[in-house]
């Protein structure tokens, strides 16, 4: 009887078609990405240890394949490694493997690195790299030959203190990428904490001599920086005159987008334990902090939260940029719907985001269309900042799962994590996160940087088989990265729209290309690009090939 049952079971199992999972984990031995982050964790538990690292997905050598850059810890006032810890720049070989080219590229900052922001600040067609860190930050200029040069000293960018997320965007629409550098709290005291002022408060069995990561609320807020790109490789700190410096916060995440459709890029900054900022750009001259008035500064109940990862996108396709902010456990994350009148409503309860994230802490995240159905989905990379949280037995764990929400249309989101592959059953100390198409199949893959561990690379299996159009936009009159461009596309009569945001996630940089999903349509009607100011040029293309990447150069067409 047992034998018969076993046999039947075997027959049944073999008769089932093989299930294709949405995302498949690629192991280091397969990809060659063997780098491991060192979080510099010490007995004294200095807070910067808990936040790192960031990651970038970008094409540093313009070979058409997305490369990877991972940030590491390094020498600073509270950490003195015997040998400098390696950062990692991996060149994509185009065959599913990567080669470590860090040394050759000249990226060895020995900086206590936090995150990375990528942008072509000098418009030479090659992506430059800004690495944020504790104590100082570094601007690397891409030499167009596979190497980088540290130009921080001559750039005018001096961001002391604790820099976290940064974003390249053109705030004054002069066609050049400016740089916002978020600053976390004033940590100059290097204060260490006992159990009483730790992240979770009381803990049974904690000794008086034991140190824990401090709750950030005990540190004073500080001002962030905005650097104007002067166009000659030099930047000027305009934080004060633009109003950015007037708002002291504890910035962890930043995304540049145009929330009021006035053609000027605004900034949404998530702050830890103080109000989030919505810097509304007033004609490229001033930023007006309108977080409270817009309803995105606090929770619905008027409480400050621990804002970490952020993003912006028109997720419900109503023509207005919506916002997302991740927080720590018990606070729930927020999906803010833009009402189009300067205010936002939090849809997290109605969309299931609140219940799914109640026990999670979110860092890297991204609005993206992982199945190319033309609708904006959402991925969240989570992990609790305090590695002792499991000892507190609050039901919250240090390692946490990834969450994937599928956009079902009409503003509805479905938690698709359970059916998205074994990697979504795992738990990670996720921090930085970047989405990017590593194998150029048109489906975004995922790169998760974990604190004190190896990165997690998840390849998108292109399950849906939906068609797509890949775009690499290069501004000529407008900023080189085309940040702020509005892309519209029509397929089978359905029109979609997307604003090319800048930044987002947490201390990380996504693949700068845009993939336009067209669902099960088999042909594209048209694609329209409205280049950001000062150009404002609108170009329409009807002959873009499906399922391929195309480069569009402003005013010069498809290349």
């Amino acid at each position: 009887m047992t034998f018969v049952n076993s046999l039947l079971a075997l027959l049944f199992l073999t008769a089932l078609p093989a299930k294709l999972v949405t995302f498949r984990q690629v192991l280091p031995k397969e990809s060659g990405v063997t780098w491991v982050h060192n979080n510099a964790r010490s007995d004294r538990h200095y807070l910067p240890e808990a936040f790192t690292p960031g990651v970038a997905v970008f094409d540093y050598n313009n070979d058409g394949w997305m490369d990877l850059l991972f940030v590491n810890s390094g020498e600073t006032t509270f950490f003195h490694p015997v040998h400098p810890l390696p950062y990692a720049l991996y060149r994509n070989n185009g065959d599913g493997t990567f080669t470590d080219v860090t040394e050759k590229a000249g990226i060895h900052p020995n900086l206590f690195g936090m995150g990375v922001a990528v942008g072509d600040y000098d418009g030479d067609g090659y992506q430059d790299v800004f690495i944020t860190g504790y104590g100082r930050s570094i601007l690397y200029h891409n030499n167009r030959d596979g190497t980088f040069t540290d130009v921080t000293a001559t750039s005018g960018i001096q961001a002391p203190g604790w820099s976290t997320s940064a974003v390249w965007f053109d705030y004054d629409n002069d066609g050049k990428l400016d740089l916002y550098v978020g600053q976390f709290a004033d940590y100059s005291s290097l204060r260490v904490c006992g159990i009483a002022d730790s992240y979770g408060g009381k803990m049974a069995g904690a000794s008086d001599s034991e140190h824990f990561y401090c709750i950030p609320s005990i540190f004073p807020p500080t001002s962030s920086h905005l650097y104007h790109n002067d166009g000659d490789g030099h930047f000027t700190d305009v934080s004060a005159e633009t109003g950015i410096a007037g708002s002291k916060g504890k910035a962890l995440g930043v995304v540049a987008s145009d929330v009021n459709n006035d053609g000027y890029m605004d900034l949404f900054v998530s702050n830890d334990t103080v109000a989030n900022f919505l810097f509304v750009n007033r004609a490229g001259k001033k930023f007006e902090e309108a977080g409270a008035a817009a309803g995105v500064a606090y929770s619905e109940d008027g409480l400050t939260r621990s804002g970490m990862g952020v993003d912006a996108a028109d997720f419900d396709q109503d023509g207005w940029q919506d916002l997302f902010v991740a927080n720590v456990d018990q606070e729930t994350f927020s999906l803010y719907r833009n009402n189009g009148d300067g205010t936002f409503n939090d849809l997290s309860s109605r969309t299931g985001i609140a219940s799914a994230t109640r026990l999670l802490s979110g860092w890297g995240l991204r609005f993206f269309d992982y199945d190319n159905d033309g609708l904006t989905d959402l991925i969240l990379a989570c992990g609790h900042p305090d590695e002792t949280v499991d000892r507190r037995m609050s039901g919250v764990t240090y390692d946490e799962p990834l969450l994937l929400f599928h956009n079902e249309g009409q503003g509805r989101l479905r938690n698709a994590s359970a059916s998205s592959g074994p990697a979504f059953q795992g738990r990670y100390a996720a921090r930085g996160f970047a989405a990017g198409d590593l194998n150029n199949d048109g489906y975004p893959d995922l790169v998760v940087a974990t604190n004190g561990g190896a990165p997690l690379i998840l390849m998108n299996n292109a399950e849906s088989q939906n068609h797509w159009i890949g775009l690499r936009l290069r501004g000529t009159k407008s900023n080189p990265d085309a940040a702020g461009a509005i892309i519209k596309w029509s397929a089978g009569g359905t029109v979609h729209s997307r604003l090319k945001t800048a930044g987002g996630s947490f201390m990380s940089s996504h693949d700068p290309r845009e993939v336009l999903g067209i669902g099960n349509a088999t042909r594209l009607d048209w694609v329209e690009v409205r280049w950001p100011r000062p150009s404002d040029r609108v170009e329409r293309f009807t002959d873009l090939p499906l399922d391929r990447y195309s480069t569009i150069v402003e005013g010069k067409g498809i290349r």
């Binding site: 002022d197 606090y298 008027g302 309860s349 219940s355 609050s394 039901g395 919250v396």
Partner: protein, 513 residues
Amino acid sequence: MRRPLTPAGRQRSAQTVDDPRRPQLIDKSDFRYIGSVFASRLVLALALLQGTVPAERQSDAIQQDIQAGRLRDARQKLQQAIRSSPQDAALWTRLGEVEVRLKDDQAAIAAFERVRSLTPGDARTYFNLGLLYMEQGNTGRALEMYSRGLKLDPEDEAANQNYALLLTQAGRPCEAVNPLQKLKGMKSADLPVRVSLIEAQLKCGNEEAGRRELDEFRQLPSVTVEDQIKLAQVLVQDHLVEAAESTLEYVVQASPDLAEAHANLGSLLLDKGDFEEAARQLGQAVQLAPTSAEYSMELAQVLLKAGQYPTALEFLKAVKDQFGTLPEYQYKLAWSYYGLGQVPQAAAQLEALAQQHPELDRAHYSLGNCYVALGQLEKAEMQYRKAIALDSNRGSYHSAIGQVLRKQGKVGEAIIELEKGLQLEPSDMESRVQLAICYQQRAELPKAERLLEAAVQKQPNLLNAHRVLAQVYYGEGKKAQGDRESDLVSKLDSEETRRRAQMMDSPAPQTFQ
């Protein structure tokens, strides 16, 4: 002092009289004590004095009527007699007694007042009047009568007792000390007097004298351990926590094997927030009396309040065979799951509890809270509705459902519930803020503004109210006020940062209490 496992309601002592509010025609020596936690605590001597009229002067007919219970006839005859002899104090006194028995307190007072005017040197008339005025709720007049009577007869035991009690009840413990000390001199072994004196001294702020009385009490040969525990319970009721604690500590030291003493001390420490010591004491009580559901549940309560959820869960699992069927056990088990962040398990536990005991409003309410935590707002709403159907007088229930309705976008219904919650608990600022948020969402900004302004006026440091108020002002186009609130928020935030920098503590979860 310990919480009952059954729904709230203090058990009455076996010595409680039928209706202590009515004066009774009883012998002066027949004291009746109103039961409290301390069963023999000093209480009113409910004796209306008699015997003021010499028997030979009474009409036989009147006497016969009274004895036969023909009170109205007796009254009529007395009134006739008084018409002939209006200055006869004895007749007025008898009439007053008859009026008391006829439950006509006003007429009785009038009669005794007449007696007082005729025989102003008779202390007993004052005492009778004192008792009657007290019955009328006229404490001031009652105190006056006792005071004047005691000047005439300072040694009257019952009068001193009632006077002291009245003073205590009137919140004048310092004045009660003197009559109580007199009583103590009269009957030094009387425990109710001793207890009342300890209370009066301590309430009056005479710490040293109070401690002395406490020490004396402990040394009395007739005082048992049970008496000391009862004393501690009385002191807890009086909010004389330190004295209660020292009393219980004394008992615990003297009788380390007495579970009740450990349990009482543990409960007291729990109320004080000294969870660690409370858990130690209750742990000992449980060890000494492992079959006591009350002690075990109290120990679980301490662990839960202290946020020691793993230990609470472990303990509850260990005593499951003994107490697993108790609603209190199931509730606490759910609480421990909730504290551990295992909200689905907590919800499952509460679902079972609510099914077995659908009459427990608290189970439905907490289940609603679990559903909120799980983001299942419709289910939460249903449970809150059940809780409200069982007890519609709890502001917290209306506030909870109001918040859930708001999150579901049912703002109109939310407003109704939050307003009910506020009516029941006007001091609940959170409900006020939530109501304001509702009005804000309905774009009824002036209403929101009024509510929030009132909230911040009552609680100027209510940060979230200021934050929402700032948004409301901005929404109304009142930029200056919005900026003012924003500045205030920044200031309060900075203060909060400084405060947290000095001391950080994590609040206990509010969902279960």
